[in-house]
Symmetry: none
Subunit: 152 residues, 2 copies
DNA sequence: TGGGTGTTTGACCTTTCCTGACCTTATTAT
DNA sequence: ATAATAAGGTCAGGAAAGGTCAAACACCCA
């Protein structure tokens, strides 16, 4: 049960989250603190603070750059979104419309939100050849539902 | 999170806008106030007070010169959508976010709708190679805004 | 022992910020 | 008129972040 560097950094970030409700950090600083390559921070974010696990990250480059991690709120929608993301075969237009309709009916999506989503997920808007199109649609739907899970 | 010089100047201008409905300033004065190069003001204007974000700037050179910044009126959704669709180069993530923010600020998009759109238009969600990615983003954004324009 | 999974690094890239040298335009003094 | 002066504009370039990706490494476990 060796504590890897990645684990240590994960705890570091979790502690910050616990204490302040959000974790704001500078990549180089954390890297220096743990004496590792800066890209190691990206690895930790990519493997542990993913949307599937209920985290949202935001960052800015350049002078005064930063990385911010926050917890996503309600668990139900993110789970639905995670399921969608794992739909490796992608999501057809018909299925997507059905999902949107169900979310709308149950109150998760407003009338306008549902309409907007449906418009964006159309075949002719995505306009990609078929294996990729359904995959993209799945990613879009997942991103949309996930984003709602984080309140605000 | 470090406030950069550009951020500080942005706030300065926003405060003026908030207070007087417009911001009229002299480039050298502001530069002196923040102890920076005058061209820094142009940088702030070029990156933050753009048409995409709903600002209009006007200026005059020579003696008695000035810079004036005002908020633009409410954008017309169908026209915005048409412009987006015809953007031959596509739409970068930065521009897309700016457009969404502007529509949100002007009341066309609700908070949740803006959040959802921003999440869907991210690079890593679209996940396509670069010429196509920006084109797809343009189509998605246009479809979304247009769908709302229809409902009126 | 060999293959798979997860970790770590380093080289290279993109974005953002900020300045300084040089240019253009308007006003004012001669 | 012309020259001096007083604005603002442009652009290239350097510095300061964070991002990406492939390759090397490490640790299981059949």
């Amino acid at each position: 049960m060796s504590l890897t560097l990645a684990d240590a950094i994960e705890r570091h970030i979790l502690a910050l989250l616990e204490e302040h409700g959000e974790a704001a950090l500078q990549r180089v600083e954390v890297a220096r603190l743990y004496d590792c390559a800066p890209s190691q921070i990206n690895y930790v974010l990519a493997t542990r603070f993913t949307p599937e696990r209920g985290f949202v990250t935001e960052s800015r480059r350049g002078g005064g750059g930063y990385i911010r991690i926050v917890r996503a709120g309600r668990p139900e929608l993110p789970q639905l979104a995670a399921a969608l993301r794992q739909a490796a075969e992608g999501v057809s237009e018909a299925v997507a419309i059905a999902v949107v309709a169900r979310c709308s009916a149950s109150g998760w999506l407003g009338e306008r939100e549902a309409q907007m989503l449906a418009a964006m997920l159309r075949r002719d808007v995505l306009a990609l050849p078929l294996p990729e199109r359904d995959l993209l649609r799945a990613r879009l739907l997942a991103a949309a539902l996930l984003s709602l899970g984080q309140g605000r």
